[in-house]
């Protein structure tokens, strides 16, 4: 008999995400890892604002919703008061790289024993596809209708590289554009959570994901765009891997 493939028990019902949204895959990977490690009952997820918080509607683990960008600050408080719980933040790129940039940088600088899953789709998804700090050069968005002009807005923020220079336990960047990348991303999420379990310090996994609705592409074309345009700028791989992680 081959392996059995069955969705995690803690995912109930259907998500409110658009067709082909990368969040659905990443939510499942997190839920799978939590159940495989036996941590789903001990986990508290700090959500902030954006499509990422739709996770709260159908993934049945304990959650709290923080103000926009402030999930790492909220997670810090929870982890310090409840050190035996596994504390995650789950944030999109508009939330973490713009509005909450200070929170994530300082949480990482303090080497808080929390884990951040950062979904990078290059736009503000929930509000209609505005330009985010992660939007690629020349990318057309609702607020860059002629394409992102880097002479005015600078180059896209590479948040994982910024955090990798700090004294943290684990930083990796994965993607969900094909089956092999999805499996690799799951292994990164597992290592990041293990780093917290082992009290190594701050851990983060950035995941390159599609937003077909706001990219104005079909889901399949969105996955191709990740391979051809996004990955050449945001290189996947493990950026920080402390010994033992």
């Amino acid at each position: 008999m081959g392996k059995e493939y069955k969705g995690p028990d803690c995912i109930k019902g259907t998500s409110g995400y658009c067709a082909g949204c990368g969040h659905g895959i990443i939510n499942r990977l997190i839920a799978e890892v939590l159940e495989e490690m036996g941590l789903e009952k001990k986990t508290i997820i700090s959500l902030a604002v954006g499509c990422s918080c739709i996770m709260g509607d159908y993934v049945e683990v304990d959650k709290i919703q923080a103000p926009h960008g402030r999930a790492p600050a909220t997670a810090t408080g929870i982890k310090r008061m409840r050190p035996d719980n596994l504390v995650l933040t789950y944030q999109g790129d508009g939330d973490i790289a713009s509005i909450g940039c200070a929170e994530i940088i300082h949480a990482a600088a303090r080497n808080e024993k929390i884990t951040t899953i950062f979904v990078n789709n290059g736009v503000y998804g929930m509000t209609g596809g505005q330009m985010a700090p992660t939007t690629l050069p020349h990318q057309v968005t609702a607020t860059s209708p002629r394409g992102r002009d880097t002479s005015l807005t600078g180059m896209p923020v590479k948040l994982s590289e910024m955090i990798a220079v700090l004294p943290v336990a684990y930083v990796a960047r994965g993607s969900v554009h094909n089956p092999a990348s999805i499996k690799k991303t799951k292994s990164y999420i597992k290592k990041a959570i293990q780093a917290q379990v082992d009290k190594e310090g701050f851990s983060m996994v950035e995941v390159l994901a599609p937003c077909p609705t706001n990219w104005h592409l079909s889901p399949l074309a969105s996955m191709e765009r990740i391979e051809q345009e996004v990955i050449p700028y945001y290189t996947p791989g493990e950026l920080v891997k402390k010994e033992g992680v």
């Binding site: 081959g2 998500s15 082909g20 659905g24 895959i25 499942r28 089956p179 889901p219 996955m223």
Partner: protein
């Protein structure tokens, strides 16, 4: 050989990731629509080998393979 593939058609949003990813070309559009009006997928059990690739790429947990 006891391979059971369950497709939850009401969960399917029609992204077609599974159709592209299936190494055996066992997944295709069914020609029918679910209650959301979305043309959902179906699996040809003659071709399916139970590798789970469709499960891996699906954002909506449409597949259960046992």
């Amino acid at each position: 050989m006891g391979l059971a593939v369950k497709v939850e058609k009401e969960r399917c949003k029609g992204c077609q990731y599974c159709i592209k990813a299936c190494p055996k070309d066992a997944v295709s559009l069914s020609g029918e629509r679910n209650s959301q009006g979305i043309e959902y997928i179906s699996v040809d059990l003659e071709k399916c080998v139970g590798c789970g690739t469709c499960y891996t790429v699906c954002p909506d947990l449409v597949f259960t393979i046992s």
